[in-house]
């Protein structure tokens, strides 16, 4: 169906559904037998305005369901704050700048600094790896691949998004760790003059591993969203570029990419939102060290979400409060990122429907 479906098109599109389900009901509605009950609005008489009708009841239900979403978001903030505040008050260090995490001791010491740093660093590296590849695939699917290949390939990419994160985490720990360890050792041998690749081991359970697993998980989101945006490029723009003698790449660079830019930015930010909140995959692949270090190949790294999963088991009341406080920070960060992404999408309405 096109952007502006014509009437006749609609008639045929919905026609079968109506004739099957509805017209018998309409027929009986007019039949004399049913005139005992007052007809709904028909017959030239307006229905009496009931004080409580099904109409207002149903309407109220649906409004309540819609408002439920707002209630939940507010409730998340309220309940997280209510449980986090006692723990933050009990904290003997500065919650925002302290790096270590000892909330279960008699004088609790914990801070979000190292965790927040690790969260942002892994997500950013994951995006640096994933976004170029995702854009490449999106362009391949929308402009290079023949339709026979593009449809199943797009399907496979969508399936990649459905694979649970715990499976990626397990795969990252059991399969990807070995190649990453070798690669890290290689990087360390030849590039240890770059601070990112310095240190003297051991390697493997590192930020690099976590970021690569994250990149694989973010890839399908960025891909499917960008592909839809690229596919919506007006054919006129593309043909105009080609008619002026542009090569295929020049056409993409001058027509497709500028048109899709806001959509791509939004896709990247949604991917960032997903990467920031990813829990289990990072809990299985990062090497749980509470430091702030740009070394990405040595064992180490941690993130807010992974720390919640890892330390929840042995947390006492204050420990739980501390974890909830860190979750509150995560909630705030992802809320800001997501709202910014959605605001960008909303500014260009035509992308709204593709933003799943």
């Amino acid at each position: 169906m096109g952007e502006h479906p014509s009437r006749s098109e609609n008639a045929s599109a919905g026609g079968r559904g109506v004739t099957r389900r509805h017209s018998p009901a309409a027929g009986t509605g007019v039949s004399p037998g049913s005139y005992d009950e007052p007809p709904f609005g028909g017959g030239g008489a307006l229905p009496k305005k009931a004080r409580f009708s099904m109409e207002s009841g149903f309407r109220g239900l649906s409004v309540a369901a819609g408002a439920m979403v707002l209630v939940i978001i507010v409730a998340i903030a309220v309940f997280l704050i209510s449980k986090a505040l006692p723990a933050i008050n009990a904290d003997t260090e500065n919650f925002l700048t302290f790096k270590q995490w000892f909330p279960n001791e008699t004088s609790p010491k914990f801070g979000i600094a190292a965790l927040a740093f690790g969260t942002v660093l892994t997500s950013v590296i994951a995006l640096i790896v994933a976004v170029p590849i995702a854009l490449g695939i999106a362009l391949f699917l929308s402009h290079y691949a023949p339709k026979r290949l593009a449809t199943p390939l797009g399907f496979i990419i969508d399936l990649l998004a459905a694979v649970p994160s715990v499976v990626f985490g397990l795969w990252g720990r059991d399969v990807l760790m070995e190649p990453v360890r070798n690669f890290s050792a290689w990087l360390n041998e030849y590039f240890n003059w770059i601070p990112l690749f310095g240190g003297d081991g051991p390697f493997g359970r590192s930020i690099l591993l976590g970021s690569l697993v994250l990149a694989i998980m973010v890839l399908p989101i960025v891909t499917s969203l960008s592909r839809e945006v690229f596919q919506q490029t007006p054919g006129m723009n593309e043909e105009a570029a080609l008619a002026l003698g542009a090569t295929k790449w020049e056409m993409i660079r001058t027509a497709v990419l500028p048109y899709g830019k806001p959509g791509v930015v939004a896709a990247v930010m949604l991917g960032l939102g997903r990467a920031l909140g990813e829990t289990i995959a990072l809990a299985l692949t990062l090497g749980v060290v509470f430091t702030i270090s740009f070394n990405i190949i040595e064992n180490g790294g941690n993130s807010i979400a992974a720390n919640i999963a890892n330390s929840f088991g042995e947390a006492n009341a204050t420990g739980r409060g501390a974890l909830i406080a860190s979750g509150l920070v995560l909630f705030a960060i992802t809320l800001v990122v997501n709202m910014a992404a959605r605001a960008i999408i909303y500014r260009r309405r035509e992308f709204r429907d593709s933003a799943a």
Binding site: G66, I156, T279
Partner: protein
């Protein structure tokens, strides 16, 4: 032959055949082989890496060689076009590799424990030295938790979507729609923490003599929070695709709006709504983090979602992955295979259903 003559001969004019000089495929292959050979010589000559580096360097050399040779034959712009085409194809290959690896590992490692014992027994009384043990309790937990979550989330989500499409006007509807979208991005662990602080720590002590109680139902609530926005979004899109004249026809016959929605709009959009629900269910079945925080994760079979800890399949994978027993990885991979099978069957069924409906795009 002039361009005009070509056109009259019935040749479709594309940028590819207007250009007269064209680099033959053989030259292209030659560059690729030469690049690989040079890369191999450099890498093994200086012994700075293995075949992975050879391939990586080979691609770089191929791009450089292509730029030079194609630049000579076809011109600089065409050469750049070829370079980007190569990069885009390479991105595709690069993305397929991890997926293939995940699938291969799942099947090869997961098949070892695919036996009746795995699906028929729990982890009760299974010590570190016992090779058996199964995921029966976890499968029960997943089914119950996701089932309850679906029962709560579907009516709420569909009603919410009905509000957005049929009733919602003005600022409030826009706000709701915006926050539904924002809510899809809430991390699952935050949903788990929310239910932990709201249900487990504050509400459940009322029913349990003052001590917090972890339960499968709490996990269902957390999954509901995650499913709700997905269902609202997909249902909303489906309801919007229902043609306006259908509604107008019903109104013209004097059918009130709520009955029109229930009897005309919803049945028409039903296949699409079911698709969206199935995708949401698939996503919820794979969630680990919220279940980890609120379900308790028992080792024995527990059919009661309201009392006592419950296991779930994804949580089972995570726990077995962290278990020191040498039999644990096999259990983890088999459970992961089961989980992926459930999720993929749901997803593929949903997508096939979506393709068959007349309303979907």
């Amino acid at each position: 032959m002039s361009l005009l003559e070509r056109e009259s001969a019935g040749v479709v004019m594309t940028p590819d055949n207007i250009r007269t000089k064209h680099m033959p495929l053989l030259v292209n292959l030659g560059i690729a082989l030469a690049a690989l050979a040079v890369a191999a010589a450099v890498v093994f000559g200086a012994s700075i890496g293995n075949w992975v580096l050879v391939v990586a360097l080979g691609v770089v050399f191929y791009l450089v060689g292509l730029q030079i040779v194609a630049g000579r034959i076809e011109g600089r712009r065409a050469a750049r076009d070829r370079m980007w085409k190569t990069l885009i194809y390479a991105a595709c290959v690069l993305a397929i590799l991890p997926l293939a690896s995940v699938v291969w590992t799942l099947v090869s490692k997961g098949a070892s424990r695919l036996d009746g014992d795995f699906f028929g027994s729990s982890m009760n009384n299974i010590g570190a030295r016992d090779p058996d043990g199964g995921a029966y309790h976890a499968i029960i937990g997943t089914l119950e938790q996701v089932g309850i979550a679906t029962l709560i989330a579907v009516p709420l989500g569909v009603l919410g979507a009905i509000y957005l499409v049929e009733y919602g006007r003005g600022k409030f509807a826009t706000t709701v729609r915006f926050f539904v979208d924002v809510m899809t991005g809430i991390p699952s662990i935050v949903a788990g923490l929310f239910i932990l602080s709201f249900w487990v720590l504050i509400v459940s002590p009322w029913f349990n003599n003052g001590t917090p109680r972890f339960s499968g139902f709490a996990a269902s609530l957390a999954l509901t929070v995650l499913m709700l926005p997905t269902i609202v979004r997909s249902t909303e899109e489906m309801l919007r695709l229902v043609p306006g004249p259908l509604r107008e026809g019903a109104y013209a016959l004097g059918v009130p709006q709520w009955k029109t929605i229930l009897k005309v709009v919803l049945p028409t959009a039903l296949p699409g709504i079911v698709t969206g629900v199935m995708l949401a269910v698939a996503r919820a079945a794979g969630e680990t983090a919220p279940v980890l925080l609120v379900a308790g994760g028992a080792a024995s079979i527990n059919f009661d979602p309201f009392a006592g800890g419950q296991q779930s399949l994804s949580l089972f994978v995570y726990q077995q992955a962290g278990d020191a027993s040498r039999y644990a990885p096999a259990r983890a991979w088999t459970a992961a295979l089961t989980l992926v099978a459930i999720v993929l069957v749901l997803t593929i069924a949903a997508k096939l259903l979506a393709r068959r409906t007349s309303l979907s795009k």
